[in-house]
């Protein structure tokens, strides 16, 4: 992989101003942008030094290898990138291969200028660049083939490029990609203007986009050969088990007694972390020759802690603090500031007010956090599946006390991500243990470490006030969102958003979604940082992030207003989605999506038995600018005990363009069940500063027996491709809450929904 020193500082890579190069190297054809560090060198390099480059290479045997700079955590993004290239290139799908990128900046996202995977952004932000890269390759190959076949240049428009073959039907001549590459003739430079001028295929010409080709990574995931971070084996490697303090954050180690650990066979050393990156606090690594021995040694260590400033805090303390902050007039910053809700509420015919909460939630991917670190000369090599190589490499460097340019991140398949692997805590114990023992070290978290040290979805508290005029029209909505700020923790200003009231940047990843597409003339949203929660429960981005809680509040309140004004909740939403002003376009798409879900679910077409009900919700997750339009109809049965049975979830989603229809269904199915799991089953709590749930017996994601019937309708209307990994997570909880109300009259406002809460709300 990468042999030379890399500069991993995020730098803007405006590809629109770079030339695109196609060149032949010893191992085949390489295609990539000029001026991006690495590409020019690769082309100019001595053949023996050649390495695969952005975006792809073609070997003399005709195999096309696409290097994916995105983390693949099960969304099959590597395969998707290959599919987009394949469409324009004219390759045969069975010739396509994928390769996972290192943290070399040449693999940075063309739009984001860094290596980060999240936000359901990958397909929408890479579609254009990958398409142009594929098309440029096709043009270069066709021209080279024409020359090699002795066709005059004016024949080039008669060439057909298909199935890894360039053919000229009139003269019956043809040449395979493999032979073209072997000829060494395919060399071409596209200026930025030429690249931009390439006419890409129109949807009616697609032969690959929109086809559910077999995912390239799936066979290796059925026979045990796919390599995840936890599977890395290096010569001379030893193992680290971590001991984490009882407090989630802020504890320090007072002393470590390793007398008993020394009698564990294979024990090497106990390493107290000195984490200047402040990603971890109070951690100790027990290093031994095997992981089983490292765990035994870890259990034998006697460690005394100072619990630190958060050692007395509980979920209740965080909630109390949130309520106190929300009650202050000068708290937080404005994310939305349209009109004057205070005045409008003062004159409204009816005012509704409600509090909505969500609990702490844990990512718990099936592959526990792990990282393997190896110092080789001046270079620190890290092997770990990670969603944010650019930042995680810098954290690893910080833990090692070296410049980030000396860190090479080796990407692996991710055994689940869901946002958890945007974080870099696992780098710190691996790096410091490797440094301390002078050997490569693989650190593996136990499930207990993984659960109690998660960068969790934060506990959230939201207060919503709504005003309705005499005609039942929603005229004012005032919405306060109080939470820890997951993205602020990164310390990267570019990921924060200026506040509307110019009170400094805010973390829009706590309020996205609250800037909905309903027309409400007076609408305020305040983002309020819960500093206590921020410090005690360092939070992260959990699949769908803010829309997972903002729409819980918004879509529940919209339902409450409909009920208070005697309207059908679906029809009420449709009336608010009028497409006025800034909502033009999006509102209509969301309305159509809601109608599709209603149609598929048979909403309002039949009388349901007593105790059953249907509820709707519709969302513009993830961000306003990157929305996929998603609606859900939930059908539930509510027992007199308050117990809820979800009978069916019907979801429609407008994704513009489908690259891989079957994958979209797989992602939406998974996201819907995540939404259900968060709505009914998953809850973490803080007590004495620590997360109480330690394994899958106390933190309980959905199992097979809890799966209801799920129906998915995907709307592909030819608009630009949008993301599908997250949006459907956010629509499920409010749809279920609204269905519970429809079935039983019980309004629930806290996630997860419990039978006790439902029963309590029935009586009220």
């Amino acid at each position: 992989m990468n042999q030379h020193v890399k500069n991993v500082t995020p730098e803007p890579t405006d590809l629109s101003r770079r030339s695109f190069l196609v060149g032949t190297a010893a191992t085949g054809l390489v295609l990539g942008y000029a001026g991006v560090p690495g590409v020019g060198e690769a082309l100019a390099a001595a053949p023996a030094n050649f390495e695969p480059s952005v975006w792809y290479s073609i070997s003399p045997d005709g195999l096309v290898t696409v290097t994916c700079g995105k983390a693949d955590m099960g969304q099959h993004i590597a395969s998707t990138m290959a599919q987009i290239v394949c469409e324009e290139l004219g390759a045969k799908w069975s010739d396509m291969r994928v390769n996972l990128a290192s943290n070399d900046p040449k693999f940075n996202d063309p739009v984001l200028g860094a290596q980060i995977t999240g936000g359901s952004w990958s397909t929408m932000m890479n579609f254009e660049a990958m398409s142009r890269a594929g098309a440029a390759g096709r043009i270069a190959l066709a021209e080279a083939a024409a020359a090699a076949m002795g066709l005059p240049p004016y024949f080039k428009d008669q060439l057909i490029v298909r199935d890894s073959m360039v053919s000229h039907p009139k003269s019956k001549k043809q040449m395979s990609f493999a032979d073209i590459v072997k000829s060494g003739k395919a060399t071409k430079t596209f200026t930025p203007d030429e690249l931009k001028a390439i006419k890409l295929k129109t949807p009616d010409q697609y032969t690959m986009i929109g086809v559910s080709v077999p995912q390239l990574d799936i066979p290796s995931k059925t026979n045990g050969t796919a390599k995840y971070g936890i599977d890395v084996m290096l010569p001379g490697m030893v193992y680290g088990a971590i001991v984490t303090p009882p407090v989630r954050f802020g504890a320090t180690v007072k002393s470590v007694d390793d007398a008993a650990a020394k009698s564990v066979p294979g024990f090497i050393k106990a390493v107290i972390l000195d984490d200047k990156t402040q990603t971890t606090s109070g951690w100790v690594v027990a290093v031994a020759n095997t992981y089983a021995n490292a765990k035994k040694a870890a259990a034998a260590l006697k460690i005394a802690y100072d619990g630190g400033p958060n050692a007395k805090l509980s979920s209740q303390s965080l909630l109390d603090e949130a309520k106190r902050l929300q009650g202050l007039d000068d708290s937080g910053q404005f994310f939305v500031k349209d009109g004057d809700p205070a005045a409008a509420l003062g004159t409204a015919a009816k005012v509704l007010e409600a509090e909505y909460t969500t609990s702490i939630n844990i990512h718990a991917p099936m592959e526990p956090m792990n990282a393997t670190a190896e110092f080789k000369g001046d270079i620190l090599h890290i092997y770990s599946g990670n969603q944010f190589a650019t930042r995680s490499g810098a954290i690893a460097a910080g833990a090692a006390g070296i410049d980030p340019k000396f860190v090479v991140m080796h990407q692996m398949w991710l055994g689940g991500g869901f946002g958890r692997r945007l974080d870099a805590d696992m780098m710190v114990p691996a790096v410091q243990a490797a440094k301390a023992v002078g050997k490569p070290v693989k650190v593996i978290y136990t499930r207990e470490n993984d659960m109690t040290m998660d960068f969790s979805r934060p506990l959230t508290y939201q207060k919503v006030k709504a005003g309705v005029d005499g005609d039942g029209k929603l005229v004012a909505l005032s919405h306060d969102v109080v939470s820890a700020w997951p993205t602020a923790r990164w310390g990267i200003p570019d990921f924060l958003t200026p506040s509307v009231d110019k009170k400094g940047p805010l973390d829009s990843f706590t309020v996205n979604g609250s800037d909905f597409f309903y027309t409400v003339p007076n609408h305020h949203v305040r983002a309020i940082k819960n500093e206590m929660a921020h410090n005690a429960t360092p939070s992260g981005q959990l699949r769908s992030v803010a829309p997972g809680w903002t729409f819980w509040a918004v879509e529940s309140m919209i339902d409450e207003i409909a009920a208070a004004t005697g309207k059908d909740p679906a029809q009420f939403r449709i009336s608010l989605l009028d497409g006025a002003g800034k909502n033009d376009g999006g509102a209509q798409r969301l309305r159509n999506t809601l109608l599709a879900a209603m149609g598929l679910a048979g909403y309002g077409t039949k009388k349901l038995p007593k105790g059953e009900g249907m509820g709707v919700a519709c969302v513009s997750s993830q961000e306003r600018a990157t929305a996929s339009w998603t609606a859900c109809v939930a059908h539930v049965a509510v027992a007199p005990s308050g117990e809820v049975t979800v009978k069916k979830l019907t979801v429609a989603t407008d994704v513009g363009t489908q690259v891989h229809p079957d994958n979209i269904r797989a992602q939406v199915e998974g996201a819907v069940l995540w939404g259900l799991s968060l709505a009914l089953y998953e809850k973490a709590t803080l007590k004495d500063g620590g997360i109480e749930q330690t394994n899958f017996d106390s933190y309980r994601p959905l199992r097979m027996s809890q799966m209801p019937e799920v129906a998915v309708a995907v709307i592909a209307n030819g608009e630009k491709a949008t993301g599908v990994g997250e949006p459907a997570v956010t629509v499920v909880a409010p749809a279920i809450g609204n269905a519970i109300f429809n079935a039983s009259g019980a309004r629930v406002r806290a996630l997860p929904i419990t039978a006790e809460a439902v029963k309590g709300a029935m009586k009220a």
Binding site: K221, P365, M366, G417, F418, R447, A666
Partner: protein, 163 residues
Amino acid sequence: MPTLTINGRSMSVDAANDTPLLWAIREQLQMTGTKFGCGAGLCGACTVHVNGEAVRSCQTMVGDVAGKKITTIEGLSAKGDHPLQKAWIAEQVPQCGYCQSGQIMQAASLLAKNSNPTKEEVVAHMDGNLCRCMTYSRIQKAIMRAATEMRTASAAGNERRPT
């Protein structure tokens, strides 16, 4: 050093008798298809067969399986072509894929005894295996598809060896 009979081969491992089989398989034998998920028998990611029964290798000690026949995902079929593996590809089951070795091994122990399971039997048998990507509906479909194939093969007098 204990000797394990694994995937038809006899291999000695440098591990104490109280070492979980999971870590002996992964580290000593460097067969990493069997995954660590919870260390407590709660998720099923580490499922292997011992004498044909699906067990959690994180809860099975090396000393307890001496002389017994152990099968891991690497040994389920010669070329990754067990009916379940083929069905897993046909139904495009895996997302992240991390739990799938355990899912396939768990399912294989069901189909070895019952090649015509009902949906309820499948759910009851598979409920201890977590999939965080929540590919459950595809897992069910793949098991049913594989069961059909096994019945067809069996009807043709082409019975597969149980693993």
